[in-house]
Every structure is written in C-alpha cells, then in structure tokens.
Amino acid sequence: MWRYLVPVSIFAVLAAFFYRGLSLNPGYVPSPLLGKPAPEFELPRLKDPAATMGSRDLDGQVALLNVWATWCVGCRQEHGFLVDLAESGGIPIYGLNWKDDRQTALNWLTDLGDPYVASAFDELGEVAIDWGVYGAPETFLLARDGTVLHKHIAPLDEEIWARDFLPRIAEQCGSLPCPLETGE
C-alpha cells in the first residue's frame, strides 16, 4: 500500500505546486505600497516648469496617479480610455510623466488629448523609484487620506476599470464622483 501511496502523494503535491506556480504571471510584482501612505513627492509640472505638482495636489481626493511616457507603447494604448474617463468627470487623474522629453510629451498631449488634471515631470525617474514604478503604464488608486488602494500595471481598459477599480472606489465613497473631503 505505502509503496504506491508515497510516490502518488509526492506527485500530487508537486503537481499542485507546479499548477499554481506555472499559472502565475512573473511580470506581476505586487506593490509593497498597497494599504500604505503614498510616498511624498513634489516635481515641476509638465506644462509649467515653474509650478510644482505633488502630494499636496492629491490630498483629500480619491484620485488616480497614472505613470506615463511617450516612449511607452502601452500608454498610447490606454490613452483613449483615460481621455474618456476624464471626460466622464468621475475621478481626477494626475499624471507622472516618467523619464520623458518635455516637448515630446507636450506634443503627445496636444495630439491625443490631455486627460490629466496635471502631470508631474519626473525627468530622472527619482519619484518613480519612490513609488516602486518599474514598467509604464502604471496606475495608482489613492484614497482621500493618501493611502494607496490599488496599483495596476499594464494598460487600463473598461473591463479592468470595472473589475479592479470601481469596487474599491465604491468602498471609499459609494458612487462616482467622490465628493471632496470637506475640511471641518
């Protein structure tokens, strides 16, 4: 009896591990920032280098921070969705323009539309490192108190939005648009 049971059970355990392990996506690295306060930052704005954009702009809102660049193919793919999302007016989208050329980025927004309330210009990628960014496009969902609720790596679309973002936003404030926090 044991003669058969032992190899069969070893096989079953291995098969279970491989089934699980081989169906994981190695490109998906869960962010250690989830559930933690978003890293503080302050950078020049893309459109107005003299002004800055940073944590203070995001404070008190349920908002998206979208990491994008003109060299990033996936960003072009999701851009139309972001423009639609911005037009629907439900949630403010902030941009983090990552390791890009300012003029090229400005042209991109002129040509394809600008879904962002504002974009920060992270030329050296220093803020991106603080946010654990490794592959654009990445989209962070932030709570009013600045907690990172969700991070999506890869282009956004309707389906992912409905599956991963809307339920988390609903937990925060019911339906969109989320009311702004009133400073009481």
């Binding site: 190695p26 869960p30 490192i129 603080d130 490794y134």
Partner: protein, 147 residues
C-alpha cells in the same frame, strides 16, 4: 634574411591574454567613475549584482542596460556615497519594490521554506537512505525475496 613571423596560435594566445588583462573598469556599466575607496566600490558591485532588474527580470541591475536599472544604480551609488550601508539600501529597495527585487531573499517567516527546503530534503533523503540500508542489511545475504 629570415623574418621572424609569430606563429598563428601564439598570436592568438597573445590576443587573448591582452584581452584578459584589460582593466575590469573597461566593462563598467555606469557612466560615473568607480568609488575611490576600493572597499566601497566592492560593496557597491556586490550589491548591484544581487538586485533584480524588474524590467528584465532575469538580469541583475549590474547586467542590465534598462533605463530603470541605470536609475537604480545611480540611486544606490548616491546612497552609498552618503554613507548608507548595505542594510539601508536593501530596506530602501524592498520598501519600494518588494522582496522580489532581491536575488538573495532575506531569512524571514515567508522565506523559511525557501531557505530551509534544501536542508529538509537532504535530511529526508538521508533518513530514507538509512532506512532502506537497514532493511537490506537485515535480509540474509543469500535470502530470496518473498513475493
């Protein structure tokens, strides 16, 4: 007059030797010069050889030409130049990118099985081996196996 022609294999050997003697810095991937303190440079090199480049996941940031790898090397250089130790840099990276960024995971509850697994299987193997050996030794030398 006899011309001294170096035989081809010797020329080849000279070429290979010359190539091997090129200073290692010729391969350095960073635009910056190495640290002046050789010990610090060695620590820096050791560390960047243990940090995964998340863009090209089977490379370390020491191997990778990805822009993110260059940014991370620059960040690590700056930290180490300002006196940060290995532990501080590792904590910095893990806080942002998670444990996956380390090629040599730290020993902690989530990695006990990983670190302990090989030892566990070696011991298991030895136990099984000892039991089989003992069972065999218990058999008479000329004994026939009963079906």
């Amino acid at each position: 007059m006899i011309r001294a022609v170096t035989p081809a294999p010797v020329r080849m050997l000279m070429l290979v030797t010359a190539w091997a003697l090129l200073p290692a810095t010729a391969w350095a991937i960073d635009p910056e010069p190495p640290f002046e303190d050789p010990q610090l440079e060695a620590q820096y090199q050791a560390l960047i050889n243990e940090v995964r480049c998340l863009v090209c996941q089977n490379q370390t940031i020491a191997d990778s030409n990805a822009p993110l790898a260059a940014d991370l090397r620059r960040e690590i250089r700056e930290m180490m130049g300002e006196g940060a130790g290995r532990g501080e840099v590792v904590d910095f990276l893990v806080a942002r990118y998670g444990e996956f960024v380390l090629y040599r995971p730290r020993f902690q509850p989530s990695t006990w099985a990983l670190w302990g697994g090989p030892a566990f299987f070696v011991i298991l193997g030895m136990v099984v081996f000892a039991r089989i050996l003992r069972a065999r030794m218990a058999q008479p030398l000329e004994g026939e196996e009963s079906p």
